[in-house]
């Protein structure tokens, strides 16, 4: 169509009625002229009139077509169809409610999970040009020693400073590290989430202050002390009461009064997805805030995550090449005396590499990305089932409208027009379903986040729907409308109008075909449900197995207490004695049955492993067991049986010969004898201790170390009282059957008596173990929810189809009963038919289920993806659902009165 016609049409909008009247007059004149001519050629008046009409053709159609020339007909008919669809929905509120609810659940579940994925995976950091950010880390090479103090790839401070001062790859670089800092208000101290940041941190990210100023490189210089703090917008809003004079106020951070110099702008929640921050302090002040250990001049403390902003026109490949050439000098310059001498060679050969960091870093992402994608897939299947259900409902309505559609077809409506109309009738449904789904997604999303948040670790995820989430929902809605709208539309359009109109209302021509289609839809539903139900059983089993797994130690009635001595400013030599003194006081608390020090709480996720070999043999002959440092009474506290030898005791001191206790798995791997007590082992040097020998003095039963899923690993326990470098923190495990509040208040009291400067923090061991199972719980809870949803939807679908079949067969049932069939036989024949449908569905679903189960195999524990018992269980559950759904229509069939049924015809 040319632009001129568009223009003409546009103008015509304002004067159409006139045009139409004129057209009518014009046609009338035309007919009169033709009639006149015919009369003149000698026809009778009547003949002349009919001949003129014949010659002209369909007057109404001509008018319609001429009108369409002027109309925006597509748009207009679209509105008509929409309005018609809405009126139809108003007439059947029950159908509408079920359909909208189904859609809302399907779309809502999908959107909620996608929202979370979007927030942790797809979204960029809320900073300037996030695509330019790159993460600088060590290449994966052996020989890295020391302690990794963040969950993210990290460098040590000398290395960071070298990179900052010598690199030319990036326009600018930044470094940061998450930490906890205690701020005091009066006597009370509480921990807040803080960031060590480099001076350029905010500048490089492009973060502006909401108040005051942010750090510059001037603030981050050697020996800066506790000079100033920047607070986050959320902290300012929630903790400082949006005080507009907050700048200059002081916060007491670990005894230092520190002035607030600025507030970051709203919307910046830190470089880490999943966590926000309260305070930011310069890296240079680490030594001032922490009385224990100066990380600034250490090459074994890996704590700073380094990022750079690529120069315009540069690329990651270029950056990598330049970092590689910078590496030798950087590692040479950053090497400090604390690096273990036998690994110095490795250190010099380290290399720096860069990865894209546009999405920030996130442990949340690493932990949940796969489960979330998996859940999105499952939610998609739920939506498919919902679509099948809706298609079925629409077909049922379509059958009722066969007559109407047939009449319209025979009156000259084109099939395309009918398909279009039926399709558009589903639009209001989908729109309201999608809107309800978006609302539902908000609620579900919040539930998900709170499900994933743990006691000491609140999760921060920005669930603000962005264009990606909205787009996702729109696409979902469109696909849904097409899926459940098209089937009935094409069905209706393939009608043979004459047959449909000829046939009676209940045995209309298309019925046979329609019922076949509806059965196929129900079979699809059953097949897809089998996937979901099996999945939910597998995940529930996994969770159950993990909860029931014998970890090898006592989980109940154990409290973890974390004591912080740092404010006592104890010299290294007095630390062990002080800790011992506090421990002795704790042991005297009435109700505390036993208490012991522990370095790594089992299943907390922390781990240390070092190479160990038999004394006198070659280092190469050894292996890498896990290590833990525990005090006297640890095994008693956790109920780990001592199989041979002795527990650690008071006589094990830094001065006495070094001893170790090992577990059975260690003895097995060590391979010397079933009872290794008395043997000597050598352990490689660690960042803090040289290579040294230990005598094995005890053998204990196996227990889990890092996570419940693992098989028992070899563990070497070292004595806490023989620690050469005791720090200022003490972690205790206390076994007590006292009620929790009573126990904690007694412990606080006892510790407070020793010194009010020792702060205590508690965690319940059992809670911590449960929290380590969060991903499994998430999968079990959501897949269970989806499984139930799928079962319900399938029940509705089956109910609809069986009701339909029973209604259609009323006549036949009547005849059967008249011929002597009993109620029981009728009932069982209907139920048998349902069971057949369900079984066919299960048969179809089985290969799909096995395929999907193989995909999730790595997420399972203690159950095989193709476990026949699980499949049986899921199949039985579906059969049960099917029979329950069919029971009502079956009862109705059994109640058919043969006389009424036969007369009905």
């Amino acid at each position: 169509m040319s632009w001129r016609r568009y223009l003409a049409k546009f103008v015509a909008i304002f004067r159409r009625p006139n045009t139409m009247d004129e057209l009518e007059e014009e046609i009338r004149t035309h007919l009169q002229m033709e009639e006149q001519e015919n009369l003149e050629s000698g026809m009778s008046p009547e003949e002349a009139r009919y001949a003129a009409l014949r010659r002209f053709g369909n007057v109404a159609l001509t008018q319609q077509k001429s009108r369409e020339m002027w109309a925006w007909s597509r748009v207009e008919t679209l509105w008509q169809d929409l309005g018609f669809g809405l009126r139809q929905l108003k007439h059947s509120p029950g159908f509408t409610a079920v359909a909208v609810l189904t859609l809302a659940l399907g779309i809502g579940a999908n959107t909620a999970i996608f929202q979370l994925l979007d927030a942790v995976r797809l979204r960029s950091l809320p900073v300037t040009n996030p695509a330019e950010l790159a993460l600088v880390r060590l290449a994966d090479l052996p020989g890295k020693r020391g302690s990794q103090d963040t969950a993210y790839p990290a460098l040590n401070n000398p290395l960071w400073e070298y990179i900052r001062d010598h690199q030319s790859t990036f326009s600018r670089v930044l470094a940061w590290s998450p930490t906890d800092l205690g701020i005091s208000e009066g006597d009370h101290e509480r921990m807040v989430q803080a960031l060590w940041v480099s001076g350029d941190f905010f500048n490089v990210l492009g973060v502006q202050p909401a108040l005051g100023r942010l750090f510059t490189s001037e603030d981050d210089r050697p020996g800066c002390g506790a000079s100033g703090v920047v607070v986050s917008y959320a902290f300012w809003r929630d903790q400082l009461g949006e005080d507009s004079h907050a700048i200059g106020r002081t916060l007491t951070i670990g005894r230092h009064p520190v002035p607030i110099i600025g507030v970051t702008r709203a919307g910046f929640t830190g470089p880490e997805i999943g966590h926000s921050f309260d305070l930011a302090v310069p890296i240079c002040s680490q030594a001032a805030y922490w009385t224990d250990g100066n990380w600034l001049d250490s090459s074994t403390d890996w704590w700073l995550t380094v990022m750079g902003r690529l120069k315009p026109g540069s690329s990651l490949a270029k950056a990598n090449a330049e970092l590689k050439s910078l590496s030798p000098a950087a590692f040479e310059a950053s090497l400090r005396k604390d690096y273990p001498s036998e690994n110095v060679r490795d250190y010099r050969h380290f290399e720096l590499v860069a990865d894209s960091a546009s999405g920030g870093v996130s442990w949340l992402r690493n932990k949940y990305e796969n489960p979330l994608w998996m859940l999105l897939g499952l939610a998609g299947v739920v939506l498919l089932i919902a679509c099948a259900n809706l298609a079925n409902l629409m077909l049922a309505r379509g059958s009722a409208r066969m007559q109407e559609l047939a009449v319209r077809l025979s009156l000259g409506a084109t099939r395309g027009r009918l398909i279009w109309q039926l399709l558009w009738e589903s639009v209001p449904l989908v729109l309201s379903g999608a809107a309800a789904g978006l609302l539902l997604a908000r609620v579900l999303g919040k539930c998900l986040v709170s499900l994933l948040s743990t006691e000491g670790d609140s999760l921060f995820v920005d669930l603000h729907p962005d264009w990606r989430v909205l787009g996702f929902t729109c696409i979902l809605a469109t696909v849904t409308a097409l899926l459940f709208g098209l089937v009935p539309a094409f069905r209706a359009a393939s009608l043979a109008p004459s047959e449909t109109m000829k046939a009676g209302s209940t045995r209309a021509g298309g019925m046979q075909e329609s019922s076949r289609l509806r059965r196929a839809l129900v079979i699809t539903q059953v097949a897809l449900s089998l996937v979901l139900v099996t999945g939910s059983v597998l995940f529930a089993r996994t969770l159950g197995n993990l909860m029931a797994v014998d970890a090898g130690f006592r989980e109940d009635s154990v409290l973890i207490a974390q004591l912080d001595f740092s404010r006592l400013r104890l010299p290294v030599t007095r630390r062990i004695a002080t800790k011992q003194e506090v421990l002795d006081r704790l042991r005297s608390v009435p109700g505390a049955e036993s208490a012991a020090e522990v370095g790594i709480v089992p299943l907390s996720g922390g781990s240390i492993d070092n190479r160990v070999w038999a004394e006198g043999e070659d280092r190469q002959s050894g292996f890498d067991p896990n290590f833990n440092r525990v005090g006297e009474g640890y095994f008693k506290t956790l109920g780990i049986p001592l199989l041979a030898g002795r527990d650690f005791d008071q006589k094990d001191t830094t001065a006495s010969p070094k001893v170790a206790i090992v577990n059975e798995e260690f003895a097995r791997r060590f391979g010397k004898s079933a009872n290794p007590v008395g043997l000597r082992i050598r352990r490689e040097a660690t960042p803090h201790e040289p290579e040294m020998s230990f005598e094995i003095v005890g053998l204990v039963k196996d227990s889990k170390y890092k996570e419940l899923r693992e098989r028992f690993t070899p563990i070497v326990y070292l004595s806490a009282t023989q620690d050469q470098n005791p720090d200022l923190f003490e972690q205790l495990m206390i076994h007590s059957t006292l009620p929790l509040p009573m126990l904690t208040s007694r412990i606080k009291q006892v510790v407070g008596e020793r010194s009010p400067d020792i702060s205590v923090d508690f965690r319940v061991f059992k809670t911590q173990i449960q929290e380590s199972l969060l991903p499994e719980k998430l999968m079990a809870a959501l897949s269970g929810f989806f499984g139930i949803l799928a079962g319900l939807l399938t029940a509705v679908g089956l109910y609809g189809v069986i009701s339909f079949l029973v209604t259609r067969r009323t006549h036949e049932i009547g005849i059967r009963m008249a011929l002597g069939a009993g109620k029981r036989q009728v009932l069982s024949s209907v139920l048998r038919e349902t069971l057949m449908l369900t079984l066919v569905g299960i048969g179809v679903g089985l290969p799909i289920t096995l395929g999907v189960a193989r995909l999730i195999a790595s997420m399972l524990f203690g159950v095989k993806p193709d476990d026949p018992a699980v499949l049986m269980m899921a199949a039985c559950a579906l059969c049960g659902v099917g029979l329950a759904a069919a029971y009502i229509p079956a009862r109705r069939a059994a109640k058919v009165d043969p006389l009424v049924a036969l007369r009905y015809e």
Partner: protein, 120 residues
């Protein structure tokens, strides 16, 4: 009334109606009935025009700006709408005519290759 047996009438090729209408209007303004009659007359009654189909086409041509319409009085004193060719329409007619001739030539060539080559 048919002057030829209905079977020998030829249905209009899609799109050619526009051209025929424009061609008819070259001889001066006339009304819808007149256009129908003159197409039939000019084609010796070979071309079958369902009179009704003229009107959507007339609307379309108006929108394109190739013809204009105004009310007038017919030879029998009836009020009728008269269509007139515009300058734009004249140009369009030339273009369409030459396109049509090329089309006919091409089709003829396909149907009757020998003759086509002679014509070259």
């Amino acid at each position: 009334m048919a002057k030829q047996p209905a079977g020998e009438r030829i249905e209009l090729v899609f799109g050619s109606l526009d051209m025929l209408i424009l061609r008819t209007l070259r001889w001066g303004a006339t009304h819808g009935h007149g256009i129908a009659k003159s197409i039939e007359r000019m084609s010796d009654e070979t071309l079958k025009v369902e009179h009704g189909s003229l009107y959507p086409a007339l609307q379309r041509l108006q929108q394109e700006g190739w013809i204009t319409a105004e009310w007038g009085v017919s030879e029998n004193n009836q009020r009728a709408k008269y269509y007139r060719l515009t300058a734009l329409g004249r140009r369009q007619l030339v273009a369409e005519t030459s396109r049509w001739e090329r089309f006919v030539k091409a089709v003829t060539g396909v149907l009757n290759p020998a003759e086509f080559e002679e014509g070259q």
